[in-house]
């Protein structure tokens, strides 16, 4: 390596900063760096050159964004583990019983016929929990259809900021949306609809059935005892506030 002309060193550094090293060059670069740790400074300068020419000045994000990000990442990490476990269990069960598989296929066909308004009829389980940790409160909305775990997490932090994460929800037709409701009941000092609920978020999942976004939650979340449950329904996109859909998943 040390026999390489200086310009070759510099061009490799340049290639690394631009992200276009080939496999062979990557090995060479690694070897070069292990032999000469001082190159780190050169790499840093090259990166700063690229930054200063093509990037706008750095701007510090709002102070609370870091906490929100880490909360979301932690929640997603937990969610991924939960879903993986659930899938494994389902796979094992399926391999044990061919009959169950056949019944499952029949049931899935039935689901297709039932359509979106009848999700609640084929939901075979609905578990939920509310966890309070430090200044954050997590609502877990979970259920299972016949093939996979369906769930959503709402992590509420201070100042009515929250992160809503949904996993494995079925994709909806274009004219339908999921609606998240904060249910507080009637005769409470909050403005609710006829079902004692407050529309909290409206969303659609991506092609893989997932969704993640920061949302603002309504006033009752400042007094968590006022909240009877969190629920998700399927509504018409033109008027989700009408609250005509049945509960799809909810906390208990």
């Amino acid at each position: 390596m040390s026999s390489l002309p200086p310009e070759c060193h510099q061009l490799l550094v340049s290639g690394y900063i631009l992200g276009n090293l080939s496999s062979a060059e990557a090995l060479l670069f690694e070897e070069m760096l292990s032999e000469n740790p001082d190159l780190i400074e050169e790499i840093s300068q090259m990166q700063q050159t690229l930054d200063s020419v093509y990037n706008p000045p750095e701007i510090a994000p709002p102070a609370d964004l870091r906490d929100r990000l880490l909360a979301t990442a932690t929640a997603q990490n937990t969610t991924i583990v939960t879903v993986k476990t659930s899938t494994k269990n389902l796979d094992t069960a399926t391999s044990k019983s061919k009959l169950a598989g056949i019944l499952g296929a029949i049931a899935l066909f039935a689901i297709a016929l039932l359509g979106f308004n009848n999700y609640r009829l084929w939901r075979i389980a609905n578990t939920a929990d509310v966890v309070t940790a430090s200044n954050k409160r997590t609502y877990l909305l979970r259920g299972e259809n016949l093939s996979q775990t369906v769930e959503a997490n709402l992590v509420v932090s201070e100042n009515l900021n929250a992160t809503l994460i949904a996993n494995n929800l079925p994709s909806l037709p274009p004219e339908k949306v999921y609606a998240l409701w904060t249910v507080v009941g009637k005769n409470v000092p909050y403005t609710t609809d006829e079902k004692g609920a407050i529309l909290t978020a409206v969303f659609q999942v991506d092609a893989t059935g997932n969704f993640s976004r920061e949302i603002a939650v309504p006033q009752p979340h400042l007094e968590p005892k006022a909240i009877k449950k969190m629920a998700i329904t399927v509504e018409d996109i033109s008027a989700p506030q009408a609250h005509t859909g049945s509960i799809f998943i909810s906390t208990q």
Partner: protein, 198 residues
């Protein structure tokens, strides 16, 4: 794995490179995300805000970028710097959002095209230091050939792959690589010379 340089505030974990932290993050150690955030959030937020012009959307994009890093992503720490990958990804996702907006509002579509065409635009809000820096950058860029500038812009600013650039410019892949690398090298030398003279 190369020990990638510590791009920015490295006081927290001086021994861990971005590449090391990225690999730990991929293994599920989400606490490393905080260190990467401290190093690169300012860059991402700056780019996002410039493109989207909206604090809320920019914050949302910052979160998206870091969550992409936390999941499986295409970044290969052996072949390039994480900071470059992040910057390219941020611009790409910001443009996606602008395009998405533009589908709904034709007025914003024009804005999107204008934004994507901007490479080194100066905003009235930029401060004096930024204006001075822009003069340095402008002088440095003038020392590059048009072809070198073109390839660098396509590779880094527009985030095109080497093969895409080669196809668009009808060049051999090797030519694209060497031209972009030499271009960046010349930029660094030019900036160093300018700063030394001033």
């Amino acid at each position: 794995m190369p020990s990638e340089p510590l791009s920015h505030s490295s006081e927290v974990e001086p021994l861990q490179s971005d590449a090391d932290l990225f690999l730990l993050l991929q293994e599920g150690q989400t606490d490393t995300l905080g260190i990467l955030y401290d190093r690169h959030a300012g860059l991402i937020y700056g780019i996002a805000l410039k493109f989207l012009g909206n604090r809320s959307e920019a914050e949302d994009l910052v979160q998206d970028i870091f969550l992409i890093l936390a999941k499986k992503c295409s970044y290969d720490p052996k072949r390039g710097s994480l900071r470059t990958y992040i910057a390219i990804l941020t611009r790409s996702r910001a443009l996606d959002r602008l395009r998405s907006r533009s589908r709904k509002q034709s007025q914003l579509r024009r804005q999107s095209l204008a934004e994507s065409a901007k490479v080194l635009s100066k905003s009235p809000l930029e401060n004096i230091a930024q204006l001075e820096r822009s003069q340095e950058v402008k002088s440095a860029l003038e020392q590059l050939s048009t072809k070198e500038q073109e390839v660098l812009t396509m590779a880094y600013y527009q985030g095109l792959s080497q093969s895409e650039i080669a196809k668009q410019l009808n060049l051999a892949l090797g030519t694209v690589k060497s031209r972009s690398r030499r271009g960046l090298l010349k930029l660094r030398q030019a900036l160093n010379n300018i700063r030394r003279e001033s």
